[in-house]
């Protein structure tokens, strides 16, 4: 569980991005075929009509709406026994979103290491000259 801490301990703090920090490099750097952008499948009015919480108004909004609508089909005391598929779909979507964010963090970290090597090489060149 202390893997991130250990890596930061050995590799240094400037190379390790902070948790929940935004990426600093160009998003398309290193992708010769480009990247598919994420799309919102539901409109803001729909999200507002279903009364999604601010946390739920993300790229998984469609799954959240399906789960909420399913929840209203049954009385409240049966809610725990129904809508398993919809609730699982929400969890899956959030899981994929978390994986994307982890990949972004790792990409940021590797780009920083790469940048460090470039800077060291440039500094060595300047010294040689």
């Amino acid at each position: 569980m202390g893997a991130t801490w250990t890596r930061e301990f050995w590799e240094g703090p400037e190379v390790t991005p902070k948790q929940y920090s935004k990426p600093t490099f160009d998003p398309l750097l290193g992708f010769p075929e480009g990247r598919k952008p994420r799309v919102m499948t539901v409109s803001a009015e729909e999200m507002e009509a279903v009364q999604l919480t601010p946390f739920e108004k993300n790229y998984c909004a469609e799954a959240h709406i399906a789960a909420k609508v399913c929840q209203w089909k049954y009385p409240w005391f049966l809610n725990g026994f129904n809508c398993h598929h919809e609730r699982h779909a929400v969890d899956e979507c959030l899981h994929q979103d978390y994986i994307i964010r982890m990949k972004e963090w790792e990409r940021e970290r590797r780009l920083r290491i790469r940048q460090k090597k470039i800077d060291a090489a440039n500094a060595a060149e300047d010294m040689d000259e």
Partner: protein
């Protein structure tokens, strides 16, 4: 004791008894009596001191009233040394064991506050109040010092999760997946 029996003060002394018979005949609660036990005024002369000491069951050498004009406003009631009920010997054969008091022993002015079922001040306290306050400030100071040192300190690694910022869809932001763009 306070605010009692204003009626008897308004009427001449002769009709004091009339009030008690009147209330007794009407079948009301018992007539007020605690004005009869009110302490006398502060003793000025030596004679008054001797009388007061005898009234409260003390030797004249032991009798000491509260200072004149003190906030206790006890008149000639003696200034007894306070021994709370819980601090008295539980194994001695007191005349009144539930009060831990012998018969005729003069009571402290606020003895009922220091009953065993009421407040008891600490005896043989393990730590002084100053030590407790000092310990509290030492602890809080340590916590605050650690927070100040460790927060936003690049030299101290953080236990954190390897995730980047939460991606909420906003008007100007573009977020990407890791799949190649559709052609």
């Amino acid at each position: 004791m306070a605010g009692l029996v204003k009626l008897s003060k308004l009427t001449p002394a002769a009709s004091k008894a009339a009030f008690s018979t009147m209330t007794a005949r009407m079948g009301a609660s018992p007539a007020p009596w605690n004005y009869l036990w009110k302490p006398g005024p502060y003793p000025e002369t030596e004679d008054e001191r001797v009388q007061a000491a005898k009234k409260y069951g003390l030797c004249i050498e032991d009798y000491k009233p509260y200072p004149k004009g003190s906030d206790v406003m006890a008149g000639d009631y003696p200034d007894m040394t306070l021994v709370p009920e819980a601090h008295r010997d539980p194994f001695y054969a007191w005349d009144c064991p539930e009060y831990r008091r012998d018969y005729g022993e003069p009571l402290h002015e606020s003895f009922d506050m220091y009953r065993e079922t009421r407040y008891t001040p600490p005896k043989n306290d393990a730590f002084t109040w100053g030590q407790r306050v000092q310990t509290m400030f030492m602890l809080f100071g340590t916590f605050l010092g650690l927070i100040l040192i460790c927060e936003d300190n690049t030299w101290i690694p953080k236990i954190q999760q390897p995730v980047s910022a939460i991606q909420t869809p906003k008007a100007g932001d573009v977020h990407y997946t890791f799949e190649p763009a559709d052609k």
